[in-house]
Symmetry: C2
Amino acid sequence: MPEKRYLFTPGPTPAPPEVLQAMSAPVIHHRGADFRRIYEECLLRLKEIFRTENDVLMFAASGTGGLESAVANLVSPGDRTLVVSSGAFGERWAALNKAYGADLDHLAYEWGETPAAEDIRGRADGAKVVFLTHSETSTGVVADIQALAAVAKEAGALVVVDGVSSLGAVPLETDLWGLDVVVTGSQKALMTPPGLAMVSVSEEAYARLGTAPRFYYDWEKTRKAQAKLDAPFTPAVPLVAGLNVALGLLLEEGLEAAFDRHARLGRACREGIKAMGLELFSPDEERSAVVTTIVSPENLDSSRLVAHLRDKHGVTLAPGQGHLKGKVFRIGHIGYYDIFDITSALAAVELALIEFDIAIERGVAVGRALEAYEGSTRV
Amino acid sequence: MPEKRYLFTPGPTPAPPEVLQAMSAPVIHHRGADFRRIYEECLLRLKEIFRTENDVLMFAASGTGGLESAVANLVSPGDRTLVVSSGAFGERWAALNKAYGADLDHLAYEWGETPAAEDIRGRADGAKVVFLTHSETSTGVVADIQALAAVAKEAGALVVVDGVSSLGAVPLETDLWGLDVVVTGSQKALMTPPGLAMVSVSEEAYARLGTAPRFYYDWEKTRKAQAKLDAPFTPAVPLVAGLNVALGLLLEEGLEAAFDRHARLGRACREGIKAMGLELFSPDEERSAVVTTIVSPENLDSSRLVAHLRDKHGVTLAPGQGHLKGKVFRIGHIGYYDIFDITSALAAVELALIEFDIAIERGVAVGRALEAYEGSTRV
């Protein structure tokens, strides 16, 4: 039998069969009625999922392309900006700001810490833009964006949020929280393969565009085209078709139900991991519902654990990034993901640790995960 | 019966069923062995198709993203550059150069003209980069890139070529002709849906990088990652899988055979169009093997013709772009395309013109096209 494959990473994430099927439809032209129907529905669904009345701009790009669009459109050389980071993706905001010549103030927490609103009070004064990361995929921390954004807005800054791994998984209220720009990608909670970046942009952000060179990621160009259900450059037709199906599935489940599911999946994963006697690196709290980061047992390089599971058992977890390489491993639980994915991931970790001869509590993780999960779904 | 659809535009182009099928495979992680196998093969096949020993960099983006990468990596503000244009895509080079603050010399031919090497002699002197368009998709002109590049190289400039609709359809010798940068997209002769841009970069180009801000399109970042079979940002996994299958099909056919097929398709299309009594806008020459542009009959707005065929018959041709809107229509014949696509396209044009009550030669176009096609394939 060919080895079965299991994808338990925080992106790309598995896509539902309906989505994959939509992607394999014959190619259609992006200016014909067949595509426009899909495109219009998809753009409307995005607004609903972003919870915004703003335009949601779509780019054929990875999530990072969407992040760069925020810097390229808002930051002129020498502009004061504030980046708040506590992991690899927050640091990407800093790298982007440096690449565009910002006068950058970088509030860099230790990886794994949770940014606090008090820390940016005062520090956001005079910044044109404050860059935040909602779900820090490298550590599992989900920040309190509402509180952070409130302080930044008070200081008169534009608020730009990396919502790549959070949108659709945990509550994110673009308009209610006054988020000027929210960036996401197709390949996380939106259950579509990678290749699309989506960016919501507020009127205030459009009113304060910068002067950095840009063309492909130019927001005004894209906004103008989308207003006529067009795109300035050939869109990634099959990915848009797939995304539209995925967004339909997400809205059918309901956003609140999806948030609840992700919270319960996170809880189940954490309880299972702790039951094995392993230590959590990501916070043991409800908000951490996107990815669970686990400290690798002493004397076991986590990259070896991840490689072993992938090469011997067909199970893909995520290793540590940056200076956490070798020290932690990560189980993603976003998107097309249910409790049996959690129990499979836990079983895989348990099996691998036994094979590495690591002393753990055996035979309890899955049971504890089920208990934690069912707590809120009694029939 | 649901209406059958026919896609006869110069991009996106139809994708073979094998390609679509590869795209609908379950999502795999881009850092696992399953993807690396595909990625490595795909990157090697690209080098073979670009006919280069240089790296071919891959971006999740439309073709224009690849074009922008050339300007962002090579052009610093104030750099002298020369853009040679004779249609919409050549003018895109000019717009990109302006966006990046180049000291631009724009040699702008009338749309539909063919650039001549003599015209850039002298004019390329002192330019850091000369930007050329191989196949001008808006008009159907395929330029003599070898001759143009030779003059630009003599003047000491880097040569950057838009090969988006030409690579894989007409001869393009990246190394032999000394082309420093060639840009293409997945959605033309490479028979894959839109969403990937590929860029070959010479050592000389790497040695003369500019200072403009860039991150997502940074060549060195991508080159470094690809050297380890990695990507700096999550690649569009299913599109890469589809592209790899498509490139395999193209290499199986053989590049020379593909060039010959495209030349014969172009010839058949032109002969069929002329037999109807219609006037060609694109040159009536062998090199024009990518897209045939046709002057719309007097008193018939070509956009109406295109809309009629699309809405009433399920046949998608391309309208005129820019100031050719309403005046011409275009039949693409690149990629997954054979003689029966040409005969269907011609039959569709004939039917529509009859329905618009335009006086044409009836019943001869398909016969003439078959004659022109078979000329070189006698058994």
